[in-house]
């Protein structure tokens, strides 16, 4: 569970075995990594493309969702960058880690 507490919301008191966690970090530009984006917004869209939730990224660019089993899309909005869509599959009892790169 390395990195499991990095997102915007603490996992204290959360039964992770019963949650389908999607979490990750938003980075700006640079093929070899890039800078964390603290003021991005990550939207979780369901399999039909409908909005399900949204979080701002933390100071270190991290975000987290408690989704359900299945396919989801992350739509990331950041200042001075085009929105970026990222597909992700979530499953109860596991943590799907995602890295999102936005334009420089």
């Amino acid at each position: 569970m390395c990195g499991a507490t990095e997102g915007g919301l603490s996992l204290d008191g959360v039964n992770v075995a019963k949650e389908a966690v999607i979490q990750g970090q938003v980075l700006r530009g640079g093929a070899s990594g890039g800078e964390p984006v603290a003021n991005a917004y990550v939207r979780l869209l369901d399999r039909t493309g409908e909005f399900t939730a949204e979080v701002p990224t933390s100071a270190s660019g991290h975000f987290r969702f408690f989704a359900g089993d299945g396919e989801w899309t992350l739509r990331t909005l950041a200042p001075k960058a085009e929105p970026v869509d990222t597909r992700v599959v979530a499953a109860t009892g596991s943590v799907a880690e995602v890295q999102v790169l936005v334009g420089a």
């Binding site: 917004y41 399900t52 987290r64 408690f66 359900g68 200042p79």
Partner: protein, 284 residues
Amino acid sequence: MSRENSLVTAQWVEDNLDTDGVVIVEVDEDTTAYDKGHIRGAIKLDWTTDLQDQVRRDFVNKAQFEALLSERGVSNDDTVVLYGGNNNWFAAYAYWYFKLYGHSDVKLLDGGRKKWELDSRELTDELPTREKTSYVASEQDSSIRAFRDEVVAAIGTQNLVDVRSPDEYAGRLLAPAHLPQEQAQRAGHIPTSVNVPWSKNANDDGTFKSDDELTALYDEVGFDTEKDTIALCRIGERSSLTWFVLTELLGRKNVKNYDGSWTEYGSLVGVPVALGDEPGTADA
């Protein structure tokens, strides 16, 4: 009501940061967001401590609301401009709350904190100082607040609009997906309620869609304009945003917000619950 009376742009707010009689108020689900940075001059209302009774499950009463706004330096004749995170969910909730207690001039910042941040506008951690006032609230306006018995009676007879995400409506999720899903109440929705997710009212940047787009949205789901309407979500904040759209932007009459919402309804003993993507029938 109309867009001009109830909504202001980020640019308008930036141009009016120092205007007398304009009070900017931030209300967030994440009650620490203000402390990390806010619009210059904005005061904070904490929806969990300032706007909720700390013993009963209810709002603060009239006297408490008066004391709160007096202490924060808000006058009856001020223009109150609300904004917040989560696409203004909690700012819309506060808007509805100010209207519940009769404040006449309230506006939402279109797009809220997100639009402000995406525009790279300035935030500060400086705390404003405001002179105390003697705020006088009206009695709660019961024409905009629905309680559970009215909601149960509305099944099959009124427009019930459930504004949660499709997965929450269908019972596949119990809460918005930025929150843990383990909850005490049952999953699903009120039979005959239609699902118009709050997000369909807004663009990706959090600003509201045009009046024509919004009108079409509610026509599509067969809203009967002759009937009264009750909006609900999980705890009443997203449905405040839909209440705002229907009442303030589209000028619909007889729209109530059910702040008990799914956390109350989904815990009631003996009421009907529908599962899946269809509204279901009154005799479910």
